[in-house]
Symmetry: C2
Subunit: 612 residues, 2 copies
């Protein structure tokens, strides 16, 4: 059964973990990204003043970098007006108005450097840039009521529809980097103009037809860009993981709006393929740097994991859309896995720096060996060990800011009878006459209290997949609940208080034995957090570490401001390369939430560890 | 302290494991290889009658394939004359005499197809072929006393010396595929002609000078062919593993004969680098198919192991030479590891088929997933799962035959005071007036009885590195022994009987924790055998198998005719990709010696397994 989502504008994050993150985005991150984009000429590029010989030549995807920043600014300003943010957006919008062509076209790179080649290069991110600009325009109109940006982008979308769909005069049929599909659905949702949904549907339906492709362009075809089969025949996650999850998100969007059963079927198969065989325990996806792609099923190497921040984010977007198609907690469980782990690791605790790739293991000794090795045929690629304030391919930083700024989107779905609680965040939500207040210190504490006012409604509480012991109560007394597909249903009347208590404890998790790289090892989780060991807490190197304690002691790392776990452990070494003589040195291992790794200098890090 | 080796011609294998293998080589293998070489035109090629349009165009390394077969025939005929074998060798020798150029040059490929280009193409295996022909010629002269082949090859070696060393008129300085260096030492040892040792020394010394190289030939330079540094500055094993170990063998040969301390130092460093960081537990080396090379330290993937039979063999040749430079059991331990495991796996139990690559793990489900995957960027290479009677690159089959036919080479070293027993094989050895009879059913039984007659001599018995409990006795009474660097020294007088008893039991072996691929897993060994699980014995798939029994029960597999081990085990599966809910299904696991894997059809195989 399909449900609707309660969008971020109806939900205020009022305290706790995510409120702190949102404040960090508002105070630090968005300005740090702005500064970087200024320094690298990304904002200036919209004025199209760049001349040969100047630094910072505009790149094909800069439009999208700035667009995501604009979208972030819109979300922030919706919750708390900020004239400084708005002034920046308005200036860019004016630049776009000045810079666009008469027919509505806007693209910095093609206008400046290859005007004759617009809509001929599938791999050049042209429609991807358009998509992000459309998303920003919708967000800004919704946030401020100002509609200039929206109209500029409606004109552009109309042009794209004319060229690609009506005339079919472009050199290719569907985008090389998906994104515009889900943006067009947003545009349709906001404007109710059917033609935008039609264009999204056209791009989705054309995909995999391989009808048109510029000659010699072999990268931008086939599985790498999910173009190997018509989308309704795609049942596995393939190729570039960010593109893939943006496409799958749009497929779920279309399936919902068109009640398209075959699209829904494909999206669900793909979702299960990802979460059953192609996702790290942190929710990261896209395990290889080769084409930034999904690897074969169960091939999830830790040390060479690629695991782009944008890919984890895109998986959360996809899962969030699946939640609406069907009430089943596996979708929101996946969102939770991503947002507390493989996505959030992309941002430093001080809000200033970012991972593009997210290491799933760091072994400095292995890197030293490979780096110092004499042979040159290895092709081994290791992710970076420290977040950076600046990188050339800056898709992730503004993606992080827009995601956290609008995280209120992820909490509630609803239908006529029920409010579905997908995520636990201290917040106040409005749904028509109803108000639902959620008070909690989740994920640090499993106690979550809801107060419903303004009417009666059934409330469905997600019981996280990791949770083994939980209880519900109403108005101070314990009460029963029907549990269906991971949600506990409770009837609530006006003024009722519902208390959910989830027992949070350390768990030893094994992976499916088909994940050959994790054989013989366990990961430790604590509530929604995947935990990790860092060298800095554990005597430097993590070589030969084995957890030997049966249970864990909860502690707190004051520097990180986060819970940590302690466990008796040994460091094992062998007499030679292969031996039955091992020596063990005991110590107390400390584990911290994975997302907070690499905030205290370069050091070993491991999620999967030998364990009793 | 340097020692001499007692060569195979002084040692008769008289029973047990290796006698059976030698009989198999004589009765089956050498003829199967002969038939294949006949069918593919390899023998016919020596007549140089091939014309365009005919099948089986001669290949650059066919001379060496046949040469190794000739060398095998020589070893066999030395022990038991075989007119049929001799007639074949004599015919090839006549062909060489007819086919060679006046100046002594002989090479099928260059004579037939590129006569103008001789000695200009470093990567074309020309000197490699010459080396194998020289080894065959020495062996045949030694075995039969016939010296035509020897003189043809002495002429050829003289020509090579003239062109490469005296005139320095060749287009390169040292071979692209090492082998001739150790062959020239053999030729020197047999003929006592200093000039052959000089040429070997020249090639060794020139290596790494990079003085001359045909332009544009980038593969045949650098680490791939151990040409990155002067050999005395090479301290790690690099590049193509067969070439590498042939070079290292020759370095040890030269170090011994020249008492060259810096060469010995380099060879020893390299040996330790291999055995401490770059060798599979089976003694296999060269873990990647990319350039058939050694990988970085501790990078020893099991599922994609390359592990060529010739590379394991070459490591045994290298280790055998190190034994002579220094009395230390680590060298003979390595020989033992190789010959009972990673080398012997190259030959089927029926003696008819061969592995080129030797899988260190077979997971058919993983292969199915990769094979059926849609993406095309993986570059994953899996070794074959079944031995073949025929393959185009047939270096391994005749290498296996010559090695086993001359395995008597590996048992004894000696100096004026002591006979060193490196390997335990039922045999009778002659050393001057002395006769040493060794009676044993090793490796199936740890009881080894020696009887010395013809004089008095100290006997040094290697205590294998895997052995924890052992005892020695003399003439029926237990006796003490001084143990030094892995050898137990006992004084023996004429007529004395010495009894060595090695306790053979199952052991759980861990690898150095730096071998990331083996974390959390153990290998099981039994005496010198590395054991493995095969799917055919263990319910099909080996997914999720964990050994849970503390001890093992010894049994026997009648079909294989080999010992096997039983152990209580479970098959573990998880609820989903990551879960703390696991289900276990108990069963009794069966392990067989690794070398005998893949003799009962295509099935899963695993050495490293989760274990209590």
């Amino acid at each position: 059964m399909a449900t609707k989502n309660l969008t971020y504008d109806n939900v205020d994050i009022t305290g706790g973990f995510w409120q702190e993150k949102q404040q960090l985005i508002r105070d630090v991150t968005i300005w740090n990204v702005y500064k970087r984009f200024e320094e690298t000429g990304r904002f200036e590029a919209f004025k199209m003043n760049w001349k040969e010989g100047m630094p910072n030549k505009p790149h094909i995807f800069w439009d999208s970098d700035v667009a995501k920043w604009l979208e972030s600014a819109a979300y922030l300003t919706k919750k708390q007006r900020d004239p400084k943010l708005e002034a920046i957006v308005d200036e860019v919008v004016d630049d776009i108005e000045r810079g666009r062509w008469e027919d509505g076209y806007f693209n910095i790179y093609f206008e400046m450097f290859e005007p004759q080649n617009r809509f001929t290069k599938r791999g050049w991110h042209e429609l991807y840039c358009a998509g992000h600009l459309i998303e920003a325009a919708v967000a800004y109109a919704e946030a401020t009521g100002k509609d200039k940006f929206l109209h500029l982008m409606m004109d552009y979308a109309d042009l794209i529809k004319k060229i690609f769909m009506d005339e079919q005069s472009a050199a290719f049929d569907s985008p090389g980097h998906e994104e515009i599909e889900l943006a067009l659905v947003k545009l349709y949702d906001y404007t109710h103009e059917e033609r935008y949904l039609e264009l999204a549907r056209f791009f989705i339906d054309k995909r995999g037809s391989q009808a048109k492709l510029p000659e010699g362009d072999n990268y931008h075809r086939g599985t790498n860009i999910q173009d190997h089969l018509p989308v309704r025949e795609q049942f596995t996650a393939e190729g570039h993981s960010v593109r893939a999850c943006y496409l799958y998100s749009a497929m779920a969007d279309l399936a919902l709006r068109d009640n398209d059963v075959s699209l829904k079927f494909a999206a669900e198969k793909i979702f299960d393929n990802i979460t059953n065989a192609k996702m790290y325990i942190t929710g990261a996806v896209g395990s290889t740097h080769i084409a930034e792609a999904f690897e074969e099923e169960y091939r999830l190497p830790n040390d060479t994991a690629y695991a782009e921040t944008c890919a984890a984010l895109a998986l959360a977007l996809f899962a969030r859309r699946m939640e609406k198609l069907e009430v089943d907690s596996r979708f929101a469980d996946t969102v939770e896995r991503v947002i507390y782990n493989g996505f959030l690791s992309g941002l430093s605790l001080d809000g200033k720096s970012f991972f593009y790739e997210n290491a799933q293991e760091i072994d400095l000794e292995e890197r030293r060996i490979v780096k110092e090795a004499l042979r040159d045929t290895s092709g081994i690629h290791f992710p970076i060990t420290q977040r950076l304030e600046v990188f050339n391919c800056s898709c992730c930083p503004p993606n992080v800011t827009r995601f956290i700024a609008s995280i209120g989107d992820f909490i509630y779905n609803y239908d006529d009878e029920t409010i579905y609680v997908n995520q636990y965040m201290d917040s106040t939500a409005k749904l028509g006459e109803l108000t639902l207040v959620q008070k909690t210190d989740y994920p640090f504490d499993g106690r979550i209290e809801f107060t419903l006012t303004g009417g009666d409604r059934k409330v469905a509480l997600r019981i996280p997949g990791w949770c083994r012991v939980w209880s519900v109560g109403k108005n101070g007394a314990s009460c029963g609940a029907v549990v269906e597909r991971g949600y506990a249903y409770i009837d609530a009347n006006d003024g009722d208080t519902i208390l959910l208590e989830l027992r949070i404890s350390a768990r030893r998790v094994k992976s499916n034995p088909r994940v050959l790289t994790n054989r013989g090892m366990s990961a430790i989780t604590y509530g929604p957090f995947v935990m990790c060991l860092e060298g800095v807490d554990n005597g430097g190197s993590l070589t030969g570490v084995r957890l030997v304690g049966k249970s864990f002691t909860l502690g707190r790392d004051e520097q990180l401001g986060l819970p940590c776990l302690y466990c008796p452990a040994v460091r094992e070494s062998t007499d030679g390369l292969y031996s039955d003589k091992t020596t063990t040195e005991p110590f107390t291992a400390k584990l911290i939430p994975y997302f907070a790794f690499a905030n205290r200098g370069e050091t070993d890090m491991r999620i999967w560890v030998e364990s009793v």
